[in-house]
Symmetry: C2
C-alpha cells in the first residue's frame, strides 16, 4: 500500500473533550472521527485495526466450532417483550417506531433474536450442542458516553450464544469458549486476565470477564500471583482475617472523640491501629404495595473493619437486601440511633435494626466503634458481652491487596483492568422466557441451557492503546497494527536510488504478505517519523541516499529507544527476522 | 468444512408469503430467516454468500483506489437538516429520538456524513481526487417490503463517494467507478448490463444503473443489440416514428363510437391500425401559496399515439410539469372538456389547456381522437387545420421494442432487469448544501464536485438467484457460491473406505484453498442430493463403496443434467480442471 492511495490524517493536538489517552491518541492518529456524542466514524486507519481484530476473533470462533450468522440491527419489540426486557431495560435501550407505529429496538445485544432462531431451528437433542455468533453494530444509549470508543453509544460487538441439552454439556460449551477467548486475547498480543465475575442482572451460573490490564482501567481485578485465582473485585472473596475470635481483655469504655468522625481519625487520636476500629454503615430497605408506595421500611446496620470498604454487590446478595437497598435517611438514623453519622455504632441503639457484620468484624474483640452519642466512641467492645451476636455474618467487603487468597495459595494482589470480553453460563433464563425447547431422546420437550459470550470489538482498540502507548503515541501489538511496517524514504523526489529501493522493498514485503506501507506523501522526515510513531506502526525502515551509499538503511522498532542500521544486502532476511516470518 | 460443524437447514416448502422465486429459494435453502416485515436474519449459509460478494467488491474498490472507512448506522439529524433531507424525505427515513430527545436517523445512505468528513478532512486541491467507501447496514422503512431481501427494510449496501476539484476530474472518477463496477459484476459471474439512468431526485449530471438481467426484474431496460446503447426505460429516448408530417388526405369527421372508450376498441371498430389513433391524458398542476394552499391550477392535455404509454419521468422534465403533477379531477375535466374520460380529445375544448404532444403524435396526420362528445370520436384530424399546433412537443412516451435506436445503429430491444448498482455524478448539490469546499491553487475556496456509487450487497443474492435457478433450486455462480464443492459420501457410517476417501478428498481440496464442504450429516442420499441442489453448490462429488471398488467417484456440475464418473486415481487433477484451478 502506498500512503498516497490511502488516507493519513494526523492532528498535533487532541480535542479538548478527549479525557483518556486512548481517546486522545485515536483522534490524533486519525483512527476515529467524532460524529456525535458517543458516535464515531472509523476512519481508514482505525478500520484496518478493527478488521484485524475481527479477523482473529472470526478464526478462533470458527476453530472452536461456532457458526457465524448475522442478525439485524433493527429488531421487532415483540421478542423483547417476551423476555420483559423491552419494559425492564432503561433508556439505554434505543426504542423506535416504524412508519406504521410498530415498536422496534436498535439492538444492544441479541439474546432474544438468537433464542427465537434456536427455538425454531433446533428441535432435537441431536442438533445440540450448537453455538452461533455474529459480529454486528450495536447501540446503547449511554447516559454519559465517554472515553471515546471505550464507552461509546454505537459500537461493534461479537456476540455468541451456545445451546445445550443440560448444564453439564453447557459447561463444556462454556469452557470451550473460555479457551477460545484465551487464544483470541493471546493472539491480540495484549496482557490480559480472565477473572471470575458476578453474574449480575443477567443471572446465570458462571461468568468470567476478560480484562485487558491497564492502569487506567475502570475495573479492579484481584488475583493471586501464586495460583490461578482471579476475580473481579465485585466477586473476589474476602476471607475472615482471623481464625477465631480472641477473648475480651478490655472493658467497654465510653471515650470522648471530639470532632473525630472517621475511623482513621479515631484510631490516630487513640493511638490504635485502624484494624482495631469498626465502621458503621446504615442502609434501609422498603416494602412496596401494588401501587409502588412504601408500606414498611427496615433499617440495616452494616459493620466493616475500619480499613475495609463496603462491596455493594456482595451486600446485595444478602437475604433481605437482594431486592435492592438505599442509604438510610437522616430521619431514619435519628430515629434508630439517636445520633448523627460519624458516631454511630451497634451498641445501645434506640430501636432494633438488622445487624450485618463482615466476616472479619464478627471475629474481632476489644474493638472501637461509635457510641451513638455525639463526639464519643466505645473502646474495648466485645461481641456477646457488650452487644448481641450479629443477625448476619457475611462477606460484604472489598478485598485489599495482601489479603489471603481464598484458595489458600498465597496473598492477593490487585490491578486495574478494562473489560473487553465476557462469558456467561446463562442457564435457562431466556429459553424459559421464550419457551425454547428441544425434544430429548424420549420425545419430551426440555428447555435449552444457554451460554452467551461477548467481545467488544471496537473497545479492544481503546484497551490496547491504554495498555500500549508512550509519549510519542500508540504502540500497536503486531497482530492488530494497521500496518506492520512503514517505509519512510527521504528525498524520494530527488533521488531515483531512494525511490527505486523504497519501491523494491515495498514490493518484496508485500509479496511476502506483510502489511507494508510506503510513505510516498513527500513529508519532511521529522513530520513523517512523528506521524508513524503517533499511529504506532511496529516497524520502521528509513531509506536515504546517504544510507544507500553506505549500503545501509535505518531500522527502528516502535519500542526501541534508538534506530539501528541494517545492511541493504541482507535487508529482507533481517526484516523477516524482525517480523518473525 | 464439515457439515456437522456448520449449519444446514432446508425446507420442503417455501412460506406462503414468499412471492418471488429468489425469496422462496433463499427461505427453503436456509439462507435467510424472516424476523419481521422486510427484516431478515442471514443464516450461516446466506452469510457465506454475502461475505463473498463483499470480498469481491472490496478487492475491486481498493484496486480502483477507493479507501474504506466505516460510518455509523445511527446518525445525528443535524447533518440531514443541513441538506434538508431530514424534512424532505418521507417516512422511509427511520427517525428516532435518543434519551435526551435529540433527533437521529437510521442511515439509508451516507451522503451527509461523508460530506461532513470531507469538508473537515479535504482542505486542499492537493488532497483531491479522493474516493471513500464503506459497507454497512442500512435501513429504509419501505411502505410495502416485499420480494424477500430484494426490497427489504434492513439491508447491506456498499456506498462510495468521490470528491473532485472540477467536473472534468469528477467525470474521470465516475468512469473509474464505472469500470470497477464492470469488473465487480463480471467477477460475480452474473449476466448484467450497465444502462444510462435518470438522475431523478438526487439530481446530478450523469448516472448509470447496473442491472442484473432477469425476467422477473422490476425494471425495463432498453438496449440496442447493434451498438452499446443501453438505458433504463425511464430515460431511453423515444425518437419520432416519422421523418415528417404527411399532408392531410381526409376531412375531419365526427364518428359515433358507442361504448368504445379505449384506442384499441375504437381502432377495432373503425378497422384502422392502432397507430392511427391518439390517446388523451389529462393532468393538472397546482400553484401553492406560502401556506401550501392551492391558489391556481392548470390543466394539461398530453397526447400519445394509441399504442404508446406515458413515461411519467419524461413528462416530469417538461417546463411547467417539473414541480410535480397529478391526474386531473373529474370536475376539472368536465370544466375544460365538457365530456367524460374515454372520449376526450384536443379539438373543441371548452377552455384552453396546455397541450403536450409526443414527438410522434406531432408528426401524425389523418388521426383519430376523442371528440369531447359522449360516444364519439373524430377521424381525419390534422394539426394546423383542425386544431392548433401543440404548445409543447416532447418525448413523453416509453420506447417499445422495435423502435429505432437513438444512436441510429439499429432497433431497440427490451429486457427486464434488477437494479443492483448505481453510479451517479452528483455535482455540487451536497457540497453546496453543506459548504464543503477546498482551497484551489490560488487559495480560493471551491465547492467539491461529488460522485456517489452504490451496490446493494444483500440484493445481489436475490438478483443472482432470480437469474440462476431451476426447478431443483439455486444455481450459484462459482465466485459467490456458499461452497464451491460438496462431497456426499454414501454410507460413511458403514464403510471405512468411504469415510477415509471422503476425508482425504476434503483435506486435499481444503489445502488447495477450495471452499469444500463434506456432508457428514448421515442423511439418506436422496435427501442429501436434494439439499445441495436446492442450496445450489456448483460441484458435487459422490463417494460410495461401489464406486470406490470400480476406482470411480460420481461427479455432477450443478448445471449438468446427468452425473458422470471420475477416476479416483486422477481425481484431484480432474477436479482442479472443473474448478478452473
Amino acid at each position: 500500500m502506498k500512503a498516497s492511495q490511502f488516507f493519513v490524517s494526523t492532528l498535533k493536538e487532541a480535542p479538548a473533550d478527549a479525557e483518556v489517552v486512548s481517546h486522545q491518541l485515536m483522534m490524533r492518529a486519525g483512527m476515529i472521527k467524532r460524529l456525535g456524542a458517543g458516535i464515531y466514524n472509523y476512519m481508514p486507519m482505525g478500520l484496518r485495526v478493527i478488521r484485524k481484530v475481527e479477523g482473529i476473533i472470526r478464526e478462533e470462533m470458527n476453530r472452536a466450532g461456532a457458526v457465524e450468522l448475522l442478525m439485524p440491527v433493527v429488531q421487532p419489540a415483540e421478542l423483547w417483550q417476551e423476555t420483559g426486557r423491552f419494559d425492564k431495560m432503561g433508556p439505554e435501550l434505543l426504542r423506535v417506531k416504524d412508519r406504521h407505529g410498530r415498536d422496534f429496538i436498535i439492538q444492544p445485544t441479541s439474546e432474544e433474536v438468537m433464542t427465537d432462531i434456536a427455538r425454531q431451528e433446533l428441535r432435537s437433542y441431536k442438533q445440540l450442542p450448537k453455538n452461533f455468533y455474529h459480529i454486528q453494530t450495536k447501540f446503547r444509549d449511554e447516559r454519559r458516553p465517554r472515553f471515546g470508543i471505550m464507552r461509546g453509544r454505537e459500537f461493534t460487538m461479537k456476540d455468541a450464544y451456545s445451546f445445550d441439552r443440560d448444564v453439564a454439556t453447557a459447561t463444556l460449551s462454556y469452557q470451550n469458549m473460555y479457551a477460545a477467548y484465551q487464544r483470541i486475547f493471546g493472539r491480540f498480543g495484549l496482557e490480559f486476565r480472565a477473572v471470575a465475575a458476578d453474574t449480575g442482572a443477567i443471572g446465570g451460573e458462571l461468568s468470567h470477564e476478560f480484562q485487558v490490564i491497564a492502569d487506567t482501567g475502570e475495573d479492579a481485578i484481584v488475583y493471586c500471583p501464586g495460583s490461578d485465582y482471579a476475580a473481579n473485585i465485585e466477586l473476589a472473596e474476602g476471607v475472615a482475617l482471623a481464625a477465631e475470635r480472641a477473648a475480651a481483655t478490655q472493658d467497654l469504655t465510653l471515650t470522648p472523640t471530639p470532632g473525630k468522625c472517621t475511623c482513621e481519625d479515631v484510631a490516630a487520636l487513640l493511638g490504635l491501629p485502624l484494624s482495631q476500629t469498626v465502621k458503621s454503615l446504615v442502609l434501609a430497605t422498603d416494602e412496596l404495595d401494588d401501587e409502588g408506595l412504601i408500606v414498611k421500611s427496615t433499617v440495616w446496620l452494616l459493620l466493616l473493619r475500619g480499613d475495609h470498604d463496603l462491596n455493594e454487590v456482595k451486600a446485595g446478595k444478602i437475604e433481605g437486601l437482594k431486592g435492592g437497598f438505599r442509604f438510610a435517611t437522616h430521619a431514619e438514623i435519628d430515629d434508630h440511633f439517636g445520633c448523627k453519622p460519624g458516631y454511630l455504632g451497634p451498641i445501645k441503639m434506640l430501636k432494633p435494626v438488622k445487624v450485618v457484620a463482615d466476616r472479619t468484624v464478627a471475629l474481632m474483640s476489644d474493638f472501637v466503634c461509635g457510641a451513638n452519642q455525639p463526639e464519643h466512641h466505645y473502646t474495648g467492645a466485645n461481641w456477646g458481652r457488650d452487644l448481641a451476636e450479629p443477625d448476619v455474618v457475611a462477606d460484604i467487603r472489598n478485598v485489599v491487596a495482601g489479603d489471603p487468597s481464598p484458595d489458600g495459595k498465597g496473598v492477593l494482589a490487585i490491578q486495574r483492568g478494562i473489560e473487553v470480553g465476557h462469558v456467561f453460563l446463562l442457564g435457562t433464563k431466556y429459553s424459559k422466557d421464550m419457551n425454547a425447547t428441544f425434544l430429548d431422546e424420549n420425545g419430551k420437550p426440555q428447555h435449552m441451557v444457554m451460554g452467551c459470550y461477548g467481545i467488544g470489538v471496537t473497545r479492544i482498540l481503546g484497551a490496547a492503546i491504554e495498555q500500549n502507548h508512550d509519549a510519542r503515541g500508540i504502540i500497536w501489538p503486531e497482530a492488530i497494527a494497521p500496518f506492520s511496517l512503514v517505509i519512510c524514504p527521504i528525498g524520494m523526489d530527488r533521488s531515483e536510488e531512494v525511490k527505486a529501493a523504497a519501491h523494491k522493498l515495498h514490493d518484496e514485503l508485500a509479496a511476502l504478505g506483510v502489511d507494508v506501507l510506503l510513505d510516498d506523501r513527500g513529508e519532511r522526515p521529522g513530520a513523517m517519523f512523528a506521524d508513524w510513531e503517533l499511529i504506532g506502526v511496529p516497524h520502521r525502515v528509513v531509506i536515504s541516499d546517504r544510507g544507500l551509499k553506505e549500503g545501509q538503511v535505518e531500522y527502528q522498532g516502535r519500542r526501541d529507544t534508538e534506530a539501528g542500521k541494517l545492511p541493504v544486502a541482507d535487508l529482507l532476511l533481517e526484516l523477516k527476522a524482525k517480523l518473525k516470518l
